[in-house]
Symmetry: C2
Subunit: 340 residues, 2 copies
């Protein structure tokens, strides 16, 4: 089968890879209907994260079940399924507490590589959520978004305790930040402030429910949020970038006792204990337990209530994966969908 392999920073190729089969009785193999490129795929692409040799890429996916292991009960051959970027058993104590991304048996899907024609899904019963019927082609991008960017934005909004009566600020206008705006609004937030300086992303943020846009960054961004919130700061702030500046912007934009939900992968970030102490904020984040939210998100999508797939602004055949990476790296695209 064809699959994306990264050989070195900037060197993405589509190659023949071995077609996966069921290895464990809890596995399923799916034919990938759609996959995509993640902001986090750009870390090795840009050389920020090191590669240990040629690496299959991709951890977002929707598809059709082709084969199941002997112990799989919850999905059947022919089902259309959505999974997330960690395979999880969904039965251990950590999963039951809602942290499936830290399942005691978690398998990172990035180690498997879903930018491919087929993918093996470990722990299929715990990992996959089947749709009641096959989705329409229009629904596929929205379901694919649920696999990571929507689920991550949703988790960030939940971690930030977005809800009725609360003002939520979102630092970062990538796909995750934009979908955190959507999530915050769906969770009932009264006011959602998108922090963005790109007109097209501002427009999408407003479509997703942003009530305000702040274009300033850093200390000026913080001052703008304070000004919009009676000098106190937002109740809830989502951090969806992962740099020192964005993390401090998030913490400093939050009122004492407020909540920061952070999902940007925090490379080279260091938090000063004294500043954090006196900020008085709640801090929660990490790799999103997308599986916790998947059933609800799939339902909202199939009911046509949310359209998270609108973050895809470029669709390419799998064979053009190199161009997909380039477009995201050069910010010509927010999020690229790949069709195998």
């Amino acid at each position: 089968m064809r699959g994306v392999v990264m050989h070195a920073p900037g060197d993405v190729r589509v190659e023949q890879r071995e077609r996966p089969t069921v290895v464990e009785p809890t596995d399923a193999v799916i034919r990938v209907t759609a996959a995509c490129v993640c902001g986090s795929d750009l870390w090795p692409y840009r050389g920020v994260e090191e590669l240990a040799g040629p690496t299959p890429m991709g951890h977002e996916y929707v598809g059709v079940v082709e084969e199941i292991g002997a112990d799989v009960r919850n999905v059947a051959v022919g089902d259309f399924v959505v999974g997330s970027f960690f395979a999880s058993d969904d039965t251990c104590e950590i999963c039951r507490a809602g942290y499936q991304s830290r399942c005691v048996h978690a398998v990172p899907m990035g180690s498997i590589g879903t930018q491919a024609e087929y993918a093996r899904i470990p722990l299929a019963d715990g990992t996959l959520v089947a749709t009641p019927t096959a989705p329409t082609p229009e629904q596929v991008p929205h379901l694919l978004a649920a696999s990571d960017v929507l689920g991550t934005g949703w988790f960030a909004a939940v971690a930030a305790e977005a809800g009725p009566g609360r003002t939520v600020a979102v630092v970062g206008d990538g796909a995750v930040g934009l979908l955190a705006v959507l999530a915050a609004r769906r969770l009932g937030a009264e006011r959602v402030i998108a922090m963005s300086r790109h007109a097209d992303r501002q427009a999408l943020a407003r479509r997703f429910g942003a009530t305000d846009v702040v274009t300033e960054r850093g200390a000026e961004g913080v001052a703008a949020i304070k000004e919009l919130t009676g000098g106190l700061g937002a109740h809830s702030v989502v951090e969806a970038v992962g740099t020192q500046e964005s993390m401090m912007q998030a913490i400093r934009s939050t009122r004492p006792g407020g909540h920061v939900g952070y999902v940007g992968v925090t490379h080279d970030v260091s938090l000063d204990g004294m500043e954090l102490f006196f900020s008085g904020v709640h801090l929660h984040g990490g790799p999103a337990p997308v599986r916790r939210f998947l059933p609800e998100l799939v339902e909202l999508i199939l009911a046509g209530e949310i359209h998270p797939g609108d973050v895809f602004d470029l669709t390419l055949p799998l064979d053009d994966a190199a161009e997909a990476y380039r477009a995201m790296d050069e910010r010509r695209a927010t999020k690229v969908l790949l069709t195998p």
Copy 2:
């Protein structure tokens, strides 16, 4: 009046200070019945925090109202009152959210100095909680503990979401850590693990409700907590020291999705973003909003349900404040009560 003044690290004196009077119409002046030395008073005593000249000391206090300003409604002359280490209006948006230590009009009581015969209490209506009747002499130390160490330990346990069905670990066996043990147990925690290597403090921790004691520190301490919790880590961990080692011990002892409540003042602590990200914990702490809990704590104390004053293992007259500081600095005492 007599009051404690710190002139330099290690140099604590009892001197004549001007007797306070009502300055603002929202002030009260109290005759201090009992005050004490805080772990945080040792930071300048040890030269870790700098002094800007001779500084009146103390921020924990109980006493009797001597005089009130024209606008004071909630307390009357003659009332026995308990306050906390931040004066707060208890009416602003931050106070109403339960973060009185970050009240928009907050006044740190340390800037006033309650290790003295009298003290001016700003924002008396918001700050002070009066007991229904005068307490017995036996009740006074318990009420004094509510002023800071109990309130801080309680906040830490609440921030760590101690509660039914949860295993709580407490890093730090000073007065705050010991009272976090008491708080965790009162909040319904199933299992409370005190991390302590001092026999006397271990004994007090057990009296306060600890079910287990772990003597190891650092990586070995973390391993011991993991072993006691099926390899997962505790649901809730209280950090009550404020060093890099104790903070990392707390974070690493917490399971993914668990909660760290930190109240040790975090000098020279720096948190690595990547480790925090992948820990998946909730982190919350800072200067405890003791006022949030005071009414409930006063009630529990007067009902004889909790005995937090047992952390005082030395009582000295105010005039012996220098010895009080020495005893705490040299760890001959956990917590010293001063009687003006």
